[in-house]
């Protein structure tokens, strides 16, 4: 990278940079060579950073008014909604912000799946991403508990009870998590503490995620390795900054629509009823972003195996770089994988829908088939496909693919055989 040669132009800048090379870092970030063919699916990293900062800022301000106590939490949230200046706005941004965060992260993850961004040499970026995703789910779950409504209480009860499926020590772990014999005040206060902590852990991991990204550089829609910097790259600033900024504006329109026109559509009406340990709501449904995994949990008739299946569905993603045996990254050049990819997208959407429906009859049957297919995709189809699939020759450079000339087949094959022999 050329940024080692960087010298600040001003004397003060040079003095400072010799002692703490922050300006070198800033220069690296602005000049960072980026593939010139990145499409809008690549803008969600920036959008996610925006989501994280939004959640932290609104969360900090909400914490100034929220009271983490079983007797007062529900009222303090209503106090925020009715009395605190702009409290309604801040809370609606925070609550819908969680959904927007997950919307963006799912697009980000599925972009990675389509273009093979998780493959060598980007496995560590991918695994850090999966850890961030797990932490996001933990933060979202605990945040949903804080208003201490019916869904908060019973969601907390059901999710913490998942640990009781562990043989021998399960019950002890659940009591330890609760700090009592049921979800109660001690549970609420520790969830608040962890909900406050996790976003900062995520922030730290985001730094590592980007750091790891800047070692090999971005993947790109063609999925080939490129020389950096070269005629296949553009500097991050201003090219990518402007593109990310425009996408962010579009995203914020969607965000604002939810906040201002339907702030409760993604929530559940039962959560405006204060927590009552004596009555379970007729339908317990998690937030939409957890529904596919909830469907997997319910589609297995055994308690322990259901929990194992649900956790495996998430953790299987961490070993994805080794399950996908194909050397070609981008689905553009993998005609079969491209079809399986869209089947997987449909499968996850079906699972999500089934998670919202009662677990009985036809719904349960479809959920079971979709669960089986989910694991089939990762454990059988992907490993086999890498050996069986006849891929389309990849272009040698981005420029070649952008200019649209017929790829030099002989050269491409030659390159493939070179790659194989490596």
């Amino acid at each position: 990278m050329s940024d080692h040669d960087y010298t600040p132009s001003s004397k003060v800048g040079k003095w400072f940079n010799d002692r703490l090379p922050l300006l070198t870092l800033a220069n690296h970030l602005t000049d960072y060579p980026t593939p010139k063919n990145l499409n809008y699916w690549w803008t969600f990293g920036g959008i996610l950073t925006f989501c994280l900062i939004t959640q932290i800022v609104t969360g900090l301000t909400l914490a100034m008014h929220y009271i983490a106590h079983a007797d007062m939490a529900f009222e303090s949230v209503e106090h925020i909604m009715r009395d605190v200046n702009y409290g309604w706005l801040i809370r609606y941004i925070h609550a819908n912000g969680a959904s927007m965060f997950f919307l963006a992260v799912y697009i980000h993850i599925f972009r990675s799946l389509f273009y093979g961004s998780y493959k060598s040499p980007r496995e560590i970026i991918w695994i850090i991403g999966i850890i961030i995703y797990l932490l996001m789910m933990a933060a979202a779950f605990m945040g949903y508990v804080l208003p201490w409504g019916q869904m908060s209480f019973w969601g907390a009860t059901v999710i913490t009870n998942l640990f009781s499926a562990i043989p021998l020590v399960g019950e002890g772990i659940v009591t330890w998590l609760w700090g009592g014999y049921s979800v109660d005040n001690p549970t609420l206060t520790r969830f608040f503490t962890l909900h406050y902590l996790i976003p900062f852990l995520i922030l730290g991991l985001v730094v590592l995620h980007i750091w790891a990204l800047h070692v090999p550089g971005n993947n790109n829609p063609v999925g080939i390795d490129i020389k950096k910097p070269s005629k296949d790259t553009v500097p991050f600033h201003p090219y990518i900054v402007i593109k990310d900024g425009f996408a962010l504006l579009m995203f914020m329109i969607v965000f604002a629509f939810f906040v201002f026109y339907s702030p409760n559509i993604l929530g559940h009406a039962d959560n405006y009823i204060e927590a009552n340990p004596m009555v379970t709501p007729a339908h317990i449904v998690p937030e939409w972003y957890l529904l596919p995994f909830y469907a997997i949990l319910r589609s297995v008739p055994d308690k322990l195996l259901g929990v194992v299946a649900m956790l495996s569905a998430i953790l299987i993603l961490a070993v994805l770089p080794w399950l996908d045996t194909s050397k070609i990254r981008s689905a553009v050049f993998r005609p079969l994988y491209k079809q399986f990819y869209w089947i997987l997208v449909a499968d996850v959407l079906i699972l999500g829908y089934m998670g919202a429906m009662p677990a009985e009859g036809l719904y349960l049957l479809i959920a079971r088939v979709a669960t089986a297919y989910y694991f089939l995709h990762f454990l059988i189809i992907l490993p086999v496909l890498g050996f069986k699939e006849k891929t389309i020759p990849v272009p040698l450079s981005i420029t070649e693919s952008v200019l649209g000339g017929t790829p030099n087949l002989a050269a491409a094959r030659n390159k493939e055989s070179l790659e194989k022999s490596e």
Binding site: V158, G179, G180, P186, P277, M278
Partner: protein, 169 residues
């Protein structure tokens, strides 16, 4: 490494690591154990309930240790239904005689053994309870008959202090 004889220094390293690990564990344990139920939570261990007003075929729900407890005064049909079930038909075999010492009174935690929801009274395929969360069916003895729950609803420790009062815990 393997052909080198262990020296005094190796012994010192190993001993230091061992003492360090014990020290670290001793520091970490209070930080973990503070999350377990505290003294004030444990103090709420038992509760007394007046059941004189409960009619046959009715259930009252009381809170004990933050959890609902069902106290049902069963009808003759419910008792005979519960006692005529064959053990082979049960997922978690338990005799009704062992669950309800006094057949008229069934006392149990109103907590589904699947994931902790409160089942609904007089619902389900076995005339007992039905859990709305994930569809577990319980019979008139609170035993699991169908659905994902692995165990019967738990019978807590309880006793009749007198004819009208039950002490739970």
């Amino acid at each position: 490494m393997s052909d080198k004889k262990p020296e005094r220094r190796d012994f010192l390293f190993t001993a230091s690591y061992a003492v360090g690990a014990v020290g670290a564990a001793a520091v970490v344990w209070p930080l973990i154990d503070q999350m377990n139920p505290d003294a004030s939570v444990k103090a709420l261990a038992s509760t007394e309930v007046d059941v004189s007003s409960v009619k046959r075929g009715n259930t009252i729900t009381v809170l004990w240790r933050g959890k609902p407890v069902f106290i049902r005064r069963r009808t003759e049909e419910e008792i005979s239904e519960a006692r005529s079930v064959k053990m082979e038909d049960l997922i978690h075999p338990e005799k009704d005689e062992d669950r309800a010492k006094n057949p008229e009174w069934l006392v149990m935690l109103g907590v589904c053994t699947h994931l902790g929801c409160v089942p609904l009274n007089d619902k389900g395929d076995y005339d007992g309870w039905f859990c709305p969360c994930h569809g577990s069916h319980y019979d008139t003895s609170g035993r699991i008959r169908k659905g994902p729950a692995p165990l019967n609803m738990e019978v807590p420790k309880y006793e009749f202090v007198n004819a009208n009062t039950i002490k739970i815990g």
